[in-house]
């Protein structure tokens, strides 16, 4: 009833209905209250966001600031956050070290090959599992997780021996294959969830329009899950980009990647914090750029399937 009353009075000039004035005032007050509530909620959310950002970002910021510190500043007791004296010396030392540029190229090669391999294998595998739903498919997807359950060092040493026996020792290809064993299970699982969110009707419609099964996959389904593919690619790329143990066991002169070079700043005789953090900061740039470039797709991919049902 009150709804009717409000609707009626709101559509008429207030001077004709003086009794409507308090009601409008009440409505105004309610709206202001709501606005104030929204504002405070938004403020709280912003504060929480800021806190979360500081918590997540602090280690990286600390690393960044340390890379600009002088040698004695890097080991100050108690430690300081900001450099007392800013210097680029650590960057000069780190980037001037022999093998650093080569290690960057190796890291890029390895990560790109590993990401492509993961996608080429994971997309059809996930599509088959989600669309055909055979018992063997379900066993396969569970079995894919097994490699994630084994400690990497347990498969790293045999894998290194196998690569050496087929003549792939110390090559980016060997390391890429090893990295694919890490990223592939995750990629399959991720792609499965993305394919699940695509209605079958889309494919059936494409089939009615004359598409083959593969044509429907390529022309209809893949474009719909492109955000998911971007997310999967990012995860696969990161898994390879940051991987250390396999790189340590399987690379030497020709294919050593940057994480091993970064670790080399910690020696039995001391730790060169400045150079280590400088190289780590430089090494994080490509990943940050890639993430920014694909940001929209990643967000779209992460919400893909969120409204399924």
């Amino acid at each position: 009833m009150s709804t009717t009353s409000v609707t009626t009075t709101a559509s008429l000039p207030s001077s004709d209905f003086p009794e409507a004035q308090p009601l409008r005032q009440r409505r105004g007050a309610n709206r202001e209250g709501l606005e104030a509530g929204r504002r405070s909620t938004r403020t709280i959310l912003w504060i929480l966001l800021a806190v979360a950002m500081v918590l997540y970002g602090f280690p990286f910021l600390y690393l960044l600031f340390t890379s600009f510190k002088t040698p004695i500043d890097t080991i100050a007791v108690p430690p300081t956050i900001l450099p007392r004296e800013w210097t680029l010396e650590n960057y000069t030392n780190a980037l001037g070290r022999s093998g650093v540029l080569a290690s960057f190229i190796n890291s890029i090669q390895t990560a790109v090959i590993s990401t492509l391999l993961s996608l080429v294998l994971a997309v059809p595998a996930a599509y088959g599992i989600t669309r055909y739903k055979t018992p063997s498919g379900q066993v396969f997807i569970m079995a894919a997780l097994v490699t994630r359950m084994v400690p990497p060092v347990a498969i790293g040493i045999p894998l290194a021996s196998m690569m050496a026996s087929v003549g792939l020792s110390d090559t980016p290809i060997a390391l890429s294959i090893a990295h694919t064993t890490i990223s592939l299970p995750l990629s399959i699982w991720l792609m499965c969830s993305f394919f699940e969110s695509v209605p079958r009707d889309l494919e059936e419609a494409a089939t009615v329009d004359g598409c083959s099964r593969l044509g429907a996959l390529w022309r209809v389904v893949i474009p719909v899950v492109s955000g998911g593919i971007a997310v999967t690619a990012i995860f696969a790329f990161l898994a390879s980009w940051n991987e250390f143990l396999f790189a340590l066991l399987m690379t030497a002169i020709r294919s050593q990647t940057t994480p091993v070079v970064i670790a080399n700043f910690q020696t039995q005789f001391g730790l060169d914090w400045g150079s280590m953090t400088a190289l780590a900061a430089v090494y994080s740039i490509p990943v940050i750029l890639l993430t920014l470039l694909l940001q929209r797709k990643i967000v779209a991919g992460m919400t893909l399937g969120a409204v399924k049902g």
Binding site: T70, S255, Q268
Partner: protein, 428 residues
């Protein structure tokens, strides 16, 4: 669609870049292909080395290229991963290196995977290497590694504080003898106590590393942990005496001793928080120029106990794997490393293994740590760590936990007795 196009372009570009990079770099960007050759071997060899030791061998490699025409490619690895890498390659029988720089504690573990090099250990060579190292390099009757560089703990102290007139007078008045770099346990305790004031500490106590306590065990007159017949002697009187001395310094050291390791102790000293430290000799030359203690540090030989001065050497050995196809070139490099051993002294680490190499530099400015280092390495009680493949396991699972409990106030007798049982179980 535009994003899809971007992704497609990125993927295509990435693929093309990879393909071009792979072709252009011969499947890798790091350098030449791994060495290979027949038994005669090629003139290019790969040397596996811990990252900190790389600079030590750079000068040697240059000289070896001039003298023997051997190109040397270094494979640098972090210390923490090197043992795994060596184990992996030795066990597969397919090695990617022709020479490996091995930490002394690894020699017993890899003795069956490396070649004897007895012919390189002539009488002249043996005379010019510290006795403890000659002994350690010989495993089961064969020399399997040539010492490339060695280290030992010495005393680093704040010369400016020790030479301060007021400190000298106050110390004399309190302890009845002149303030100087300590030579005995008692002096070390006194000096540590004296300088623990005004926010400064006399020394550090390292609970997270074992070597320092083991040096005190040698000073007290006992072999470390195992005797020559591999009997566990960790509960004898010398071990107890050394542990009690070690723990007694905790009151004059920064708190949290259980977690203090080499890096922490070095930081504390370089920051001017401690007046003395027992530390590896290389640290003397690595004090940052902008450190508050730069130019104010003196060096002295390691302190002595009832058995005299003693330290635990920390040498690295060059070994040639049995699986290499470049034995000749590899052994030539090892000989170069001995012949031009002093080249390492001019590197950042600044160490050598030959007595003559240290002596050549000992009187030069900046190398004041060499005389104390030579004295410590020549110490009567100086000895290398027990030659057992289980040593690292003993250190990680028994000795360090034992020290951490001891510096935290544990009963030293009970801890040593317990450690004995644990080590006996490990060695079974």
């Amino acid at each position: 669609m535009s994003t899809r196009n971007t992704i497609s372009k990125l993927v295509t570009l990435g693929g093309l870049c990879t393909a071009v990079a792979l072709v252009a770099t011969g499947c890798g960007a790091g350098g030449p292909a791994p060495s290979s050759g027949g038994s005669g071997g090629s003139s290019s060899i790969n040397v596996l080395v811990e990252a900190g030791g790389h600079a030590e061998l750079t000068g040697v490699a240059e000289q070896c290229k001039k003298d023997a025409g051997i190109d040397v490619n270094f494979v640098e690895l972090p210390y923490d991963g090197m043992f795994n890498r060596l184990s992996s390659e030795f066990s597969s029988g397919n090695v990617s290196f022709d020479v490996a720089a091995l930490d002394s504690v690894w020699l017993p573990s890899f003795k069956d995977a490396v070649q004897p090099m007895d012919e390189l250990f002539t009488d002249d060579v043996k005379k010019d290497i510290f006795p403890a190292l000659v002994k350690e390099a010989n495993v089961d009757g064969h020399f399997i590694g040539m010492p490339a560089w060695t280290n030992a703990e010495i005393i680093l102290y704040r010369k400016d504080l020790f030479e301060d007139a007021k400190n000298k007078a106050d110390f004399q008045a309190k302890y009845g003898y002149e303030l100087a770099a300590p030579k005995t346990w008692k002096q070390y305790q006194d000096v540590s106590e004296f300088f623990t004031k005004d926010g400064m500490y006399g020394t550090d106590v390292k609970g997270a590393v074992e070597t320092e306590w083991l040096a005190h065990v040698l000073q007290a007159g006992s072999p470390m942990v195992l005797d020559k017949d591999n009997n566990v002697v960790i509960d004898n009187a010398a071990h107890k005496e050394a542990l009690d001395f070690y723990v007694s310094l905790a009151k004059d050291a920064p708190s949290g001793a259980a977690q203090v390791d080499w890096a922490a102790a070095q930081n504390l000293f370089n920051q001017g928080k401690t007046a003395m430290t027992r530390f590896w000799a290389h640290a003397y030359r690595q004090i940052p120029a902008d450190a508050p203690v730069a130019g104010k540090v003196g060096a002295a030989a390691m302190i002595g106990g009832s058995a005299g001065v003693a330290g635990v050497p920390g040498p690295w050995y060059l070994s040639v794997p049995k699986a290499t196809k470049n034995t000749d070139a590899a052994k030539k490099f090892v000989k170069c490393a001995y012949d031009y051993n002093d080249k390492g002294i001019e590197s950042k680490l600044g160490l050598a293994s030959r007595i003559s190499a240290f002596q050549k530099y000992q009187d030069q400015p900046g190398y004041e740590s060499f005389k104390p280092l030579i004295e410590t390495l020549n110490g009567q009680a100086t000895a290398t760590r027990p030659a057992t493949a289980k040593w690292q396991q003993i250190v990680d699972t028994v000795l360090i936990p034992l020290l951490q409990k001891a510096v935290a106030g544990g009963d030293t007798s009970a801890l040593l007795a317990d450690a004995k049982k644990q080590i006996q179980d490990l060695l079974k």
